[in-house]
Amino acid sequence: MSRLMNMAIGRIDKFLFHDTDASACVRFRITFAVLLCVYVTVWMLDGTYWFSDAGVLQTQTARAMSLSTSFSLFWWIPSTPLIVQSLLGLMLIQSVALLIGLWSRFQIICICVLLVSFQNRNPLLMDGEDVVIRLFAFYMIFMPLDHSWSLSRWLRKPSGGEPETSAWAIRLPQVQMTVIYLSAVWSKCLGSTWIDGSAMFYVYKMSDVFGRGQLPLWLTQSPDVIRLSTWSVLLVEAVLPIALWYRPTRTIAVVVGIMLHLSMEYAMHLFLFQWIMIVGLLSFLAVPLRFRSKDTGQAERFGLQ
């Protein structure tokens, strides 16, 4: 029994602490911060309208619609236009600081607090992408964000070699991506339209989100093609959770996943949803590259050191 226990602990240790790569966290930080800058800028354009008491939703209404345990700075400070715009401005500055790697852990903790505060201040604006952004921000608190490509690290001017870092937290967005695809497939299988192949027909009729890029008529009107595209979405979402974790299929799974999201980006208006999903998918790619491997020569050949 204890042997089995030791083996399990060894596997978990390998999974979390040996096979993870700090540079993946850095790439995750940079791509995430770029999206966050866009995200916050768009919020700022209508900040007063969405989040202040001079806008469309009063603080007490937002609080009444939230769970009693929900947190927002606006439960304690007034939602005046000045305060709202100042906090959004602060979040934009912190997003830029995160991008350049200036005290990244401090920045991401503050960004988390602000994200939760604004998302709870007006939950009516939010959808899946906001949840993914909030969760990824939280997971980044545990990542070695300033491991490289960081202003803080450059300012410290390390004299020795690479510091020992643990990148176990990169597993969190990876597990999250897996859970998202599995949950999406499970939810879809509870309906009839995804099973009978008609779901995409209804998606094509949604006037608010569909119709971004031009699609040929045969793609949106031929019943056979509609069935094929519906089942393709279901199949890709069902296969990705397995293929992303299986090393030989990982790269192709990431590519297929990115193609799925780019095709949705072409056809639909879903703001940054596809891009944050692509950031999540890219977190898988660095896993087999072991920076702290004994075989540093191999890493150098791939231009990793």
Binding site: G128, S183, K188, G197
Partner: protein, 210 residues
């Protein structure tokens, strides 16, 4: 890494995994939504709650609508404000105003009707064409719903059934900023003068075949 950090990191990892897996289970699958009800208060406090990932699931619902704010001025219904026509909007404008798509959809969800009160109050107090000596201002949802055929499958052009709906969501007294909310069934806390636009009921439904 120092020895005490590994067990702590492992514990955090598995706790967060438990939250993300529990939250991702679709609604109605777990008996009494347990253990979500146990975990969610803490998850919400930390900001790590998610809910199931159900975009276009279990079935995509085609609900194309516009929101309209109208006011009854001396027995005449005047249109004060109308939501954007998404089909005519340019791509970059749609990107910029994407939040409105979520917001307008959320306003029509029954449990978020308090927010629709706030919205109609906002229009009543800020829109220049609201007559402050006039009657109440009302928010309505007008649009088309594409019905899924009983037998399922992809309907042909002749089989497609669009249902026209016109539903009043909330009204606000333009003079005093007092609001009443209509339930989906059309009940209201006080009489709604805008019901005339929907045949005297909170919701008017007409079936159209295209």
């Amino acid at each position: 890494m120092q020895t005490y950090r590994r067990p702590a990191a492992t514990a955090i990892f598995f706790m967060l995994c438990a939250v993300m897996i529990t939250d991702a289970v679709p609604h109605g699958v777990l008996l009494n939504e347990f253990p979500k009800t146990l975990i969610d208060p803490a998850a919400v406090m930390l900001g790590v709650d998610s809910g199931p990932w159900n975009m276009f699931a279990p079935d995509p619902r085609v609900h194309n609508f516009n929101l309209v704010v109208e006011q009854d001025v001396d027995g005449e219904i005047r249109e004060i404000w109308e939501s954007e026509n998404w089909q005519e909007m340019r791509g970059r404008d749609k990107f910029r105003h994407f939040r409105k798509i979520n917001y307008y959809r959320a306003l029509t969800v029954p449990y978020r009707f308090p927010a629709s009160q706030d919205f109609v109050d906002y229009v009543a107090r800020t829109h220049p064409s609201v007559s402050h000596g006039g009657g109440p201002v009302g928010l309505s949802k007008i649009g088309l719903q594409l019905l899924v055929p009983v037998d399922g499958g992809i309907p042909t052009k002749d089989e497609m059934t669009w249902m026209l709906f016109n539903e009043t969501i909330a009204t606000s007294d333009a003079s005093f900023g007092q609001t009443s909310v209509l339930t989906p069934a059309g009940d209201s806390e006080k009489p709604n003068p805008l019901d005339a636009t929907s045949g005297g009921q909170g919701a008017a439904l007409t079936e159209l075949n295209q």
